[in-house]
């Protein structure tokens, strides 16, 4: 089933603030604790039981063969239903009804597939803890489409053979419109199992009033002038990867010796009292209130904090930044995989990507969405038009190719490497 591109459907125009989701901060990208960790405890208990007797689970050695693709999709047909698991505030909403998602309505109208959309993912680790027992038992997890950040969990999902190999003959719109930054990514060669939902940059956020100067370099996070006022991420992906980038080392190909060098630098920063705290995703409040002046940060968070009144700046250090991508993927035993595949292609239409970008504030995988947004702006006047024009020219939503060239990916690690990596970096933020 190919989805028709329907140029006749106008974009629903909302109140500009609501339109872009600016009144709410997107909650909970990763790790934390705050709420997720607690539920993670329960999920953990279930997974302990499931983990018992996991043996020889490895199924996948990377890539998918044409055979595997045709075998998987043979005989599978559209069911008219899609169960979609995603993150909070990661989908456009109608101005008058938060539970109505115009882009999903459009999808249903075009394809006849009803979408059961659930914002159940608060952090990758505990979500994986929840679904892992069913995946390991070769059962459906109740969702046909997941949004999972590239990184260690996605690597495991692929390595364990938990994801369906994608049939790219059914993804022509993706092939036509996807940004080069999300095509054939290092974590999923040839997009064998995933296509991008949205991406974001990890760089530095700061309060220019308090730092007293513009921030340009990764080294600024190590400036003794900011002693006790620096926030770093307490995670095993962004913290090490940005450190490697900051030291001029390509993280994708870094060696264990490089890891140790980066760890030594971070350890010194901690022991010199420069770091106040290793944050998980709760750094925006302390940054807005002045508990910290400068912090590692995600682009979209700073954008949204400013929209709700803060006066912060986001910068990608001159040494480079880290780019991460949240990816759509289909669990191998999904009940309605064809419907999920249809949706994956649907969101790569520039008009649809524009609807999403106008709300989400992260990097859209469809550069053509910029034209679509400008076309919408041309139909409007006043503040609405200005807001859309600003959005279309915002480098955090449509980064330049020079910016993207400086953005690095997490290293893909096998099980043994991951163990060593964790033993080097975790003691820094879990001292």
């Amino acid at each position: 089933v190919t989805v028709r591109n329907d140029p006749g459907t106008p974009l629903p125009i909302a109140d500009p603030a609501l339109l872009r989701g600016l009144t709410q901060r997107r909650m909970g990208r990763r790790d934390f604790l705050r709420l997720a960790g607690l539920s993670g405890g329960a999920a953990g208990a279930a997974a302990v039981l499931a983990a018992c007797g996991v043996s020889g689970a490895k199924k996948n050695t990377g890539g998918s063969t044409a055979d595997a693709v045709s075998t998987y999709w043979a005989g599978k047909t559209q069911a008219g239903r899609l169960d979609f698991a995603s993150w909070p505030l990661y989908m456009d909403v109608a101005a008058n009804n938060k539970n109505d998602h115009p882009s999903l309505d459009l999808f249903t109208k075009q394809s006849g597939i009803k979408v059961n959309y659930k914002e159940v993912i608060q952090d990758v680790d505990s979500f994986f803890g929840t679904i892992q027992p069913s995946l390991a038992a070769n059962q459906s997890i109740g969702y046909d489409l997941l949004v999972i950040t590239n990184g260690l969990v996605l690597d495991k999902l692929i390595a364990l053979g938990y994801l369906a190999p994608l049939d790219h003959s059914k993804l022509p719109t993706f092939a036509k419109n996807a940004s080069p930054s999300v095509v054939n990514p290092s974590y999923d060669p040839k997009n064998a199992y995933t296509v991008a939902w949205q991406s974001g940059l990890t760089g530095i956020g700061y309060d220019p009033k308090r730092t007293g100067r513009e921030i340009t370099s990764y080294e600024d996070l190590f400036d003794p002038k900011f002693k006790g006022k620096v926030g770093m991420f307490g995670d095993n992906e962004d913290l090490p990867t940005l450190a490697l980038v900051g030291m001029g080392i390509k993280p994708e190909t870094a060696t264990p010796d490089d890891w140790r060098k980066a760890a030594a630098k971070l350890k010194k920063q901690r022991d010199d009292g420069i770091v106040r705290k290793y944050y998980s995703q709760d750094y925006i409040d302390p940054l807005s209130k002045g508990d910290i002046w400068i912090s590692m940060a995600w682009s979209g968070d700073i954008f949204q904090a400013n929209a709700s009144g803060a006066n912060l700046k986001f910068v990608t250090p001159k040494e480079g930044s880290v780019i991460w991508t949240d990816n759509m993927c289909i669990p191998f035993h999904a009940a309605h995989p064809v419907d999920a595949l249809t949706y994956m292609d649907f969101v790569y239409q520039p008009t649809v990507a524009a609807m999403l970008a106008e709300y989400i504030d992260y990097i859209t995988p469809v550069p053509g969405a910029k034209e679509a947004i400008l076309a919408d702006a041309a139909k409007l006047t006043g503040a609405d038009a200005t807001a859309l024009r600003e959005l279309a020219t915002d480098p955090l939503i449509f980064p330049s190719s020079a910016e993207l060239a400086k953005a690095h990916r997490y290293q893909v690690l096998n099980a043994a490497q991951e163990k060593e990596w964790n033993s080097i970096f975790e003691p820094i933020y879990q001292a």
Binding site: D31, F32, L33, R34, L35, G37, L38, G40, G41, G44, A45, A47, V48, L49, A51, C52, G53, V54, S55, G56, A57, K58, D125, S126, F128, G129, L152, K156, A159, L160, G228, N236, R270, V275, R276, K277, Y278, S280, D282, D285, P286, K289, G290, D291, N414, A415, A416, E418, K419, N422, E426, Y429, Q430, A431
Partner: protein, 292 residues
């Protein structure tokens, strides 16, 4: 079999039927997971290549060696929170028990009231109160009572304070129950026998309240030591507790054997502590409180 035999049999079986639901519950949700966890703790491998039962006892030693700092810190924080809790809870419980009058239950309810809100939300709200330029410190700093750089968040003090706050009712309630049961006639008798107020307290009230203190200490120390929420919300760079390590090992690293090993070591340390404490204070008193 005559009817009387049958009746006797029924009577003999009744207690077993009565403990059946609770017993089953314990077996399914406590004994089975414990055995499974023990088995996991002695496995080696990783999630992608699978885990196998290797009876790798060395991992216990490795876990202690790698994380002894966090183990010790958790015990210190737990002990500090318990002592601070006791110092605050005892006068509170004393006042409610002896001077609370007809409003005793209202006061107890007030102590419990904040605990109708989720643990996490309560801890996060301390973040707001204690923020460097938050409602509390911004004024004190403006008035020059505190140096500009002063901060409480992201220190071990904040973690211990958070733990103390979060587990305070677990100390107040048992101490209150013990004090409430003190027969007022004993106090009168002591006064009649020329004991001054200090003696009445030290020689009559305090010994009689010890079972409550004992229970309160256990109920505070065990959960405070294994807590991980408070440290991650209120703590700083070197305030990681063993609960945080277990969480990361489990959810982030998917290293189930190490997580299980750490949990067992923590449990063993706590049990050892509890037993030696019970030995020192006498187990009879514990049963008495449990029956109260």
């Amino acid at each position: 079999m005559g009817p009387s035999n049958l009746r006797r049999l029924k009577a003999a079986a009744t207690p077993y039927f009565l403990i059946l639901p609770g017993g089953l519950w314990l077996v399914i949700f406590f004994v089975v997971p414990m055995v499974v966890m023990l088995s996991i703790s002695l496995q080696t491998g990783d999630l992608v290549n699978g885990f196998s039962q290797t009876f790798h006892f060395v991992s216990y030693w490795d876990a202690l060696k790698t994380y002894h700092v966090q183990f010790l810190r958790s015990l210190e924080y737990g002990a500090a929170a318990t002592i601070a809790g006791l110092v605050m809870a005892y006068p509170m419980a004393y006042w409610i028990a002896f001077h609370g009058g007809t409003r005793k239950s209202t006061y107890l309810f007030l102590i419990l009231l904040p605990f109708f809100v989720s643990f996490v939300i309560r801890t996060v709200s301390w973040q707001f109160i204690l923020a460097d330029n938050g409602i509390l410190f911004s004024h004190l700093k403006d008035w020059g009572l505190l140096p500009r750089d002063f901060h409480v968040l992201a220190t071990s003090f904040a973690v211990v304070a958070g733990l103390t706050y979060n587990f305070l009712p677990f100390m107040v309630l048992p101490v209150y129950v013990a004090l409430e049961r003190v027969d007022p006639r004993l106090l009168e008798a002591a006064t009649d026998l020329y004991a001054n107020r200090r003696d009445v307290f030290v020689r009559v009230v305090l010994p009689l309240s010890l079972p409550g203190v004992f229970a309160g200490v256990l109920l505070t120390f065990v959960p405070a030591t294994s807590d991980y929420v408070t440290a991650s919300i209120l703590g700083g760079t070197k305030t990681t507790m063993i609960g945080n390590i277990i969480q990361t090992t489990y959810l982030t690293n998917n290293d189930y054997p190490t997580a299980a090993t750490l949990s067992f070591v923590l449990m063993a340390i706590l049990l050892l502590g509890v037993f030696s404490y019970a030995k020192a204070l006498g187990t009879e008193d514990v049963l008495e409180v449990a029956g109260a």
